[in-house]
Symmetry: C3
Subunit: 146 residues, 3 copies
Amino acid sequence: MQDIGENEMVTETFKFDIQTVPDEIVNITPNVERCVQKSNIKDGTVTIFMPGSTGGISFLEFEPGLVKIDVPTMLQQLFPAGPDYQHHQTWGDHNGHSHLRSFFVPPSQTVPIINGELILGTWQQIVFCEFDEKARKRTIYCQLVG
Amino acid sequence: MQDIGENEMVTETFKFDIQTVPDEIVNITPNVERCVQKSNIKDGTVTIFMPGSTGGISFLEFEPGLVKIDVPTMLQQLFPAGPDYQHHQTWGDHNGHSHLRSFFVPPSQTVPIINGELILGTWQQIVFCEFDEKARKRTIYCQLVG
Amino acid sequence: MQDIGENEMVTETFKFDIQTVPDEIVNITPNVERCVQKSNIKDGTVTIFMPGSTGGISFLEFEPGLVKIDVPTMLQQLFPAGPDYQHHQTWGDHNGHSHLRSFFVPPSQTVPIINGELILGTWQQIVFCEFDEKARKRTIYCQLVG
């Protein structure tokens, strides 16, 4: 165990918008990196959060096999679009699966910043997952505490 | 990307109790909001955490179709109650599925606070999920850093 | 709702290494506790993060039934090793399931510290899950903010 250091504290909050298409997985690592670079925080956490109930945030090696085929196939297998979910009776819409996916892959993740940089693994990217069945404009918040 | 501001920092910790019934999904957003209002923190994160190995915290549009039918059906499909899990051999209990559900839907989430308010989406609520097979009194912590 | 107190703030970052074998679930609670004890922070959050795209961090009662049988069986049922995932075409490797597991059980969790102690439940342990098919040396970060 190695102590990497300590510093004094502020909160800094950023937001950015992205335009999605249905079922898209978007690499938002460059956006989060820009927030980190723009801030004055050298050591602390960044919480990446999407206000909304039909999207998710997670981590993924961003290569087309996983992004376009394997993850979407798995999402469809576990939380299929198609069945007449009870949610559809409430509002007359058809995105019950979108809500289920967001419950199991929620839109909040926290990543440490050390020495002004996100400490992601070599292939590890931060992704936003559009689970909704419509194209959406999404606002994503990056809140840095450090 | 828009810089929303910065401020100086404290930690404030709150806790509250809820009484659950088996498999209940509880909307704890009003409880978390009261902690945020009671605190002096205008900008920062709130970490919502339940100490325990048979519950989860996530986000959900809180309407009966999802809360009473779709999410419980999906939990039962993916992590069924009923099979004789190996966990039951260890303690002679019957809640192996409760532990599995808590592993995949863990009891920790973090939400940004901006200008004294949680930045949840319009329909997005913070929920506690009772995965245990008994009614429980649960203590939930809200720790604000900002 | 009970206000437990407030204090002034620093960030402290620690890291430690563990050696894993394929599909191992490791109890890292003692390692995280040592970081908390070594720090000067009495009240605040600890974010536990593993940089890498084939591991996960979650919570589990650490008893052999769950750790050796129930959770691995469930992981294999939901995200099976074996199928020829599209990811394998990209790099010629065979760990598509490892990436899928890390997407659904991501390597970041946050736990509150109160009065110098992690507020875990009686049976609740923090676990690192090696999803990769090879033995790995993993570096895990504990970043305390409080």
